[in-house]
Symmetry: C2
Subunit: 433 residues, 2 copies
């Protein structure tokens, strides 16, 4: 295999090289944009008819009415009932753990009264209706259903509509079982830009939602970008990343496998190790070389390691923290003696996995926190998917007559300073003389 | 003036007509897009040199070095010291009230331990550096500085960089004074897409930020849309809106002036009255006709009223709530007897102004809540600007050895079900046999 890039913070061009390695811009393809724009336009104008036509064409289906593309509840229940015991238990434990964690994210309305009786506050409400996109085919992950559906349900969203493409009529029973466990309200066998259009604009059959979440291919991502504003969307994710900070005292095989666990997602995935221990760095490189041939997804892992991975030697663990904050990784493993102290110094990361016993993989499935995390250094300004993404706030203001007088005088000075005299007079009407 | 549109919920085409009136799509202009793309590209590649050139050209300046375009602290202090007493007091009271309200939005980190010692939690951090865009010229509002700067400062953002264009060298002393009161860290005399580019990519002089907030013209909005992902941005706002729900017992002049206070912002602004009282509706129309000729911004108000306003007659106040939730207005006035009870039934609104004494205008300046609010029905899925927009979250997971065993077994079942064997093995390494 190609050598993994080695970087050393003592090199004069270190930061420049690191930044170059991290650079990621999704390719904007004129052809994709044009196709998606047309699909959105037609589904918006023609509704079910266009939706049926696109679905039959792209997913090689032969549906004659939209009713055939709704997957009935009974089929979800049957999928759940048909699962092997260990898979059902894994799903159930994970659902329970995710619910418990996410319940702590729920925000409540608040208000307070000032001395003159004026009330100020913030009212929290859940979104009315949310659309959940689940990819079909090889990337059909039941964990993705859990991670997107549970925060919406915990937020109190009354209606959750799932779309999942079923190319050639093939469905993944684990995905349907997960939908049943998460109490998804309706499921449609739809995918691609046409599914996004149906959710954003509504059709005769598919109800219009207020926000669309969930991962998808470039057509789905482009469509989500285009309907943003008409509906809310979650982030549009880049390739997955892991940064392992290690003091050199963890089994190098463990660290190598942790790097693999990101690399196996995608040829563009980015696994990085940062350590002050040069010998350990070489030991991990040796583990990588020894373990790689055993891996089922060897070809993908090898490409990711060759193109986007790095083994970074730092002066000390303080510098490792500096590098981690610069990278702002999606997943950050702190495989060190006192991970809690180190975590307190991390300013930017999607999720922090503390200690030698915390494999990133448990966070993907069942630890409790969400696996939808900010990628491509966006952890500098964004957060994991959470209950807060399915709640919104309305400011509350109720002036007492006295408050209207006090505040009206101030508002009047501002408004006249800004040349907005209707604002001024509207406030002045309420001033008691 | 043109008649204001009158709608009645008993008409068969009511909802269709209402939806038509609300429809708003910002025009995407090929010429603007091309211009902005070039400006972003050049500032990114050439830094200060391009920034100087564009600023001299677009703002008719003759700066020879970037240092001339930084507005020094002493000038902000002088602007504050030079304000008339009433303006200074208005600013100071407003800053104090905004800080008190926004302090309640601040989120804190949390964590909990499970029985086996596994720790789960969420760590909250402020963004490192934020850029605040303030428009120059006629739309130079000091209140805009307050509303964008204060939540960032309350969140704990260490560095706040403001940009404000100074066409022909002209600055608004109220804007500089507001920046001083809000403890803005640095101010540059820059505007347009070039200012957005400088903040997003950084130049030799302007530091790169993590998020850009604040209103601007179509060039600024387009530039913000294009740099989104490289940095965070706030929402891109549409025209301002007010919805007044009134039971007919408020002075019709007050309601007319409240409608004017939105209309005077912009010819595209949307003021709507909803009332079950037909006589009151006509009384408000009469007040509008009588008061309009007195208004300084009459021409703008008239266009807004003619094109986008509506007087809506509903069957009763229950139906008024239904209409309000359909519209999801930016500003909602509940000018009724029991506004608290009605507010509890509002699911979608940027800000709710309760009671006859609460003019929307006090919320624009000094009540405490933010005046940056979701427009164009996006209150269905988004919130006022707040402290939470300047904080972000990192998930925390620390498995005890026992937790690693329990969770590792579940993760392994999931991962093998999804065909991700590196995930499975990474978790299995930590299972105690």
């Amino acid at each position: 295999m190609a050598e993994i890039t080695r970087l050393d913070t003592t090199a004069v061009d270190f930061w420049e090289r690191l930044e170059g390695l991290l650079a990621w811009e999704s390719v904007s393809d004129e052809r994709v944009t044009t196709t998606v724009r047309e699909i959105l336009h037609r589904v918006r104008r023609e509704g079910d008819a266009a939706l049926l036509e696109y679905t039959n064409r792209f997913d090689r289906m032969s549906a004659t009415a939209m009713a055939e593309l709704e997957i009935p509840r009974a089929r979800l229940q049957a999928a759940l009932a048909g699962l092997p015991a260990d898979q059902r238990e894994a799903l159930e434990v994970s659902v329970a753990r995710l619910k418990a964690y996410h319940a702590r994210q729920k925000q409540e309305s608040w208000s307070y009264r000032e001395a003159d009786g004026t009330l100020l506050g913030q009212q929290i409400t859940a979104l009315d209706r949310v659309g959940l996109y689940v990819p079909g085919g090889k990337a059909a992950y039941p964990s993705s259903v859990l991670m997107n559906a549970i925060p919406a349900k915990v937020a109190g969203v009354p209606e959750l509509i799932m779309v999942v493409p079923t190319p050639d009529g093939e469905v993944n029973p684990l995905v349907l079982a997960a939908a049943e466990l998460c109490e998804v309200d309706r499921v449609f066998a739809l995918g691609g830009a046409q599914a996004v259009a149906a959710l954003a604009y509504g059709t005769e059959t598919v109800p219009r939602v207020d926000k669309i979440v969930g991962p998808g291919n470039i057509y789905v991502a482009t469509a989500k970008g285009m309907v943003y504003g008409t509906v809310g969307i979650d982030m549009i994710a880049g390739p997955s990343e892991i940064l392992v900070v290690c003091d050199g005292k963890t089994d190098p095989d463990w660290v190598a496998m942790d790097l693999f666990s990101q690399a196996e997602h995608d040829e563009d995935a980015q696994p990085i190790l940062v350590t002050p221990d040069g010998e350990f760095l070489e030991a991990v490189a040796a583990s990588v070389a020894r373990l790689l041939p055993e891996m089922e997804r060897k070809a993908i892992i090898e490409k990711s390691l060759g193109a986007r991975a790095a083994l970074v030697k730092v002066r000390d663990l303080d510098e490792a923290v500096t590098v981690a904050n610069f990278i702002a990784p999606e997943h950050l493993e702190l495989s060190v003696d006192d991970p809690e102290a180190m975590a307190g110094r991390i300013r930017h990361a999607g999720a922090i996995f503390m200690g030698r016993y915390t494999a990133e993989a448990v966070g993907d499935y069942c630890a409790g926190p969400n696996h939808v995390l900010p990628t491509s250094r966006t952890a500098r300004f964004s957060s994991p998917l959470g209950v807060y993404d399915f709640q919104k706030r309305s400011s509350l203001i109720m002036c007492s007559p006295e408050g209207a007088t006090t505040l009206g005088r101030i508002a009047s000075v501002f408004a006249r300073g800004e040349g907005l005299t209707a604002h001024a007079r509207s406030a002045e009407y309420r001033i008691k003389s």
